[in-house]
Symmetry: C2
Subunit: 271 residues, 2 copies
């Protein structure tokens, strides 16, 4: 991995059909130094066992996915505190927040965005006390109604701005932000608010439901190198997570996916 | 139609399986005063015959769809001049510009956006001489790679700003812009640049390819009334076109679709 300009982290969503233990083993075997973890995969073995597994692996945990969903559920506050606890337990410095879409039949986008603001403000003291940075993830506008009403990096930064940067940052996920005419300026503005950088690629046609349409970096239209370099100029020196939702890639054996992830990462990001 | 605050126009894409003649007849029979026309449907009967048909119908032609595609084709300049000629021939005051996506394998989004700017500048004198206003249509960011690299109303207004408003305006299509945290401010800024307002609704899940996912107004998450009222406050007093791409709606008999369009239009926009 020596030639790669930023250390690579494998978000475990990319190897969907591997358990956490299999993904840990796959990263260690391949020399990938970081891992992004999902909460449903912690639940499979329990947080304590997962924490031991990760600590013993030597991997850096780069994020826990995910908290948020402030707009639609009454149970969000309790669940988000539990997500903070889980982040702290597994040594994840960052809890990714997918902020939630619109309730059924709602057209009150302004109201939903207000609830996101209030939900974050409610969670910040708890997360700060636990030493976990909340990371607001702007979602591609095609997910505005059903997953996340925070649609641009600028909007995420506006939300983050009322809190200290070490308590509330943002996720720069290339898949969500690449289209934005303002993205370079907003990455520069983000500076030490960048809690995490994630990459994948935009390929077409989108599948039904749009969620599982991501490709390996290099296969699509996103200038991932340009975006990662912009984050670097803004001061980000952390891991870059590869996070890909794609049925075909999920159906590929995990070891093969890991090899492709590494090969593409070196090709896209190495001089 | 007396209770409707803005005059209704039916974009003929909504009744996809009707010919132009059938759509004209359907609008007249239902009392819809305006029609948005597509170029491929002109071709079916020839521009001269279409111009006579439209002139004799008493309908107002509110737009011709579409020119543009500046980013990918060598033949765009000639085709766009022809589109201007067709607009003038059928009495359409507006030619809608769908500006084009990224060429195959390209990641040069900045370059593509530059070509859009140059393509518009090239077309403006010809269109102005013909008395046709070019209308830049920002496309939902999910179409950035394959249909339109102009992704926000703000970006469209930035492109339009170097030309007089009567020569280059913008389309406010609720489906493309509803998610934008800045949309209210940009509609106000647009003012007399608003050449056309189009409406449909955002429903989920998106179908494969994402293009045909629109719903009847009232069925989804878009605050169409709020957006149309904002356009009104900005000074827009023209027609509102209903433009819906949806296989199920297309499979419905045209007369039934027209009835639904009118019924929804009155429900959504009438006090």
């Amino acid at each position: 991995m020596a030639r790669v300009s930023r250390p690579l982290s494998l978000n475990q969503a990319t190897t969907k059909y591997w358990t956490l233990e299999e993904t840990v083993r796959g990263c260690v075997a391949a020399g990938i130094p970081g891992i992004g973890v999902w909460r449903d995969r912690l639940d499979e073995i329990g947080v304590d066992a997962a924490a031991r597994l990760l600590a013993n692996s030597g991997l850096r945990v780069t994020s826990l996915c995910r908290g948020g969903f402030f707009t639609t559920g009454d149970g969000a506050a309790a669940d988000n505190r539990q997500a903070v606890d889980e982040s702290a337990a597994i040594g994840s410095p960052v809890l990714v927040l997918v902020c939630g879409g619109l309730p059924a039949r709602s057209r009150d986008l302004v109201g939903a965005r207000g609830r996101v603001r209030d939900g974050i403000a409610d969670l910040v003291p708890y997360a700060a006390a636990a030493g976990v940075q909340l990371a607001i993830e702007p979602m591609h506008p095609m997910f505005c109604s059903d997953r996340g009403v925070v649609s641009t990096l600028g909007q995420a930064l506006d939300l983050a701005a009322e809190f200290p940067a070490d308590q509330v940052g943002v996720v720069v996920d290339s898949y969500h932000v690449w289209w934005d005419p303002d993205v370079q300026r907003q990455i520069a503005r983000a500076a030490d608010r960048i809690a995490l950088v994630q990459v994948s690629d935009w390929i077409t046609p989108l599948p039904a439901g749009a969620l599982l349409g991501r490709g390996h970096i290099g296969d699509g239209h996103i200038d991932n190198r340009g975006l990662v370099e912009a984050a670097g100029r803004a001061g980000y020196d952390g891991f870059v997570e590869v996070e890909i939702f794609n049925e075909d890639i999920w159906a590929t054996p995990g070891d093969e996916t890991v090899r492709t992830v590494i090969e593409r990462y070196q090709r896209v990001f190495t001089d």
